[in-house]
């Protein structure tokens, strides 16, 4: 946990230190943030989870993201995905799989310099829910005097609820094509069902036996944009 916390602090320090740097020469007056004249819907996929699962030999998980520009640098976000995990040791063995969904908002902290400027550094919040199936588990206990005992724990379904705080970056590399990362702090809301043999890994959340986790995603996204209808001109009655 300390290792994750230190890394999150490092990200924030790097990000904010860069944004706080100013030129030594006299800078021109900053223009006000401009409004976008387009609507945007963006869909993306996390590439970190499948790659890290492939490298570590773990079961893969997949996360997709969609966001929609609500105006005033606010984005409505829906995320979802699926994954599986297996726990295999000499004393405990079981599998699990789950689907998950997250809903929330992102707020861009960057000032928009052009109507077509969609880069963002954002903070956000999410509510997450996962539907989990854990298989029957076989266990073995060992005692130096009495030997080994074995048994089976029945299969179980779980529903996990959690709250998230997130922050990150999205940069438009080419027209419509974005890349960027999220860091997340997740807090499990219903801990009680997870006290007895929790799933080892919950896709979308993290390790099932932890009440809070830190996580990281790297998204490749594509945006669909359309021109908004111009706002009608305001006419003043001569009377």
């Amino acid at each position: 946990m300390l290792k994750y916390f230190c890394n999150i602090i490092l990200f924030l320090l790097l990000s904010f230190s860069a944004f706080s740097q100013t030129d030594t020469t006299e800078a021109p007056t900053r223009p006000k943030s401009v409004k976008s004249n387009s609507g945007q819907f963006r869909i993306g996929i996390d590439i970190v989870k499948p790659i890290s699962a492939f490298v570590s030999g773990a079961d893969p998980s997949y996360e997709l993201e969609a966001d929609y520009y609500l105006g005033k640098e606010l984005y409505g976000v829906a995320e979802g995905g699926w994954g599986s995990a297996s726990f295999d040791s000499s004393y405990l063995k079981y599998n699990s799989s789950n689907t998950f969904f997250r809903l929330g908002v992102n707020k861009s902290m960057l000032r928009r310099i052009l109507p077509g400027d969609w880069d963002m550094v954002f903070i956000g919040a999410r509510y997450g829910i996962a539907f989990i199936e854990r298989s029957a588990a076989s266990y073995t206990t060992s005692d130096p005097f009495w030997g080994n005992t074995t048994g089976i724990i029945p299969a179980k379904t779980f529903t996990a609820h959690w709250a998230e705080l997130t922050g990150g970056v999205r940069v438009e590399l080419f027209k419509g094509l974005f890349a960027g990362w999220n860091v997340r702090a997740k807090f499990l809301i219903n801990k009680k069902p997870f006290e007895e043999l929790p799933p080892s890994y919950v896709a979308g959340y993290g390790r099932g036996e932890k009440g809070s986790v830190f996580d990281f995603n790297f998204y490749l996204s594509y945006a669909i944009r359309w021109k908004k209808a111009p706002e009608p001109a305001v006419t003043v009655s001569p009377n």
């Binding site: 860069a18 900053r30 970190v48 000032r111 880069d119 060992s142 990362w181 080892s200 036996e209």
Partner: protein, 165 residues
């Protein structure tokens, strides 16, 4: 306004650091996997019921009730405290206690209990905890036996049984 190139450099750096910090590997097991009954030996005291702690000079303590053998828990031990494990496959088990290995006199302690399968963590797996119902003994060297704590759950240095010699 910060340049796009610096943003790109920032998040490439963060990517490398972040990927290195995320993993699914769990913590190692730090909890006791086997729980034992802490039995201490006493001499009756003239005042009060607590007794006086009495260290045995050359004690043998042996687990029995195996199908074909017994297992020595303590051999010629100089101690007043003995950790005895309970059988997870039965609701009672017996231990021999020989206060002085130089003599051939020994007593039999029979423990009666209920078993509870307990999940510790994914790293540790399962173990058994017990609730002591009764302890009976023969009376060659043992005067009486008293249960001081019925929950056998691995808590450190909690005395469960007093044996008065």
């Amino acid at each position: 306004m910060i340049s796009r190139g610096r943003i790109l450099l920032l998040w490439l750096t963060c990517l490398v650091v972040a990927v290195s910090s995320c993993d699914r590997v769990g913590n190692p097991c730090y909890e006791p996997l086997n729980v034992t009954v802490l039995m201490r030996t006493y001499l009756p005291s003239d005042t009060g019921a607590n007794g006086v702690l009495y260290e045995l000079s050359k004690a043998n303590v042996i687990a029995i009730d195996f199908t074909d053998s017994s297992v020595i828990g303590y051999a010629s031990a100089k101690s007043s405290a003995f950790n005895l494990s309970l059988s997870p496959i039965a609701d009672s088990c017996r231990w021999y206690i020989q206060p002085d290995s130089a003599t051939t006199i020994y007593d039999t302690l029979t423990f009666y209990y209920t078993r509870q399968l307990k999940f510790l963590s994914n790293a540790c797996g399962y173990t058994y905890h017990y609730n002591l119902l009764d302890v009976r003994s023969t009376d060659y060297n043992i005067d009486s036996v008293k249960i001081t704590n019925r929950d056998i759950n691995g808590k450190a240095d909690v005395e469960h049984v007093k044996v008065f010699l």
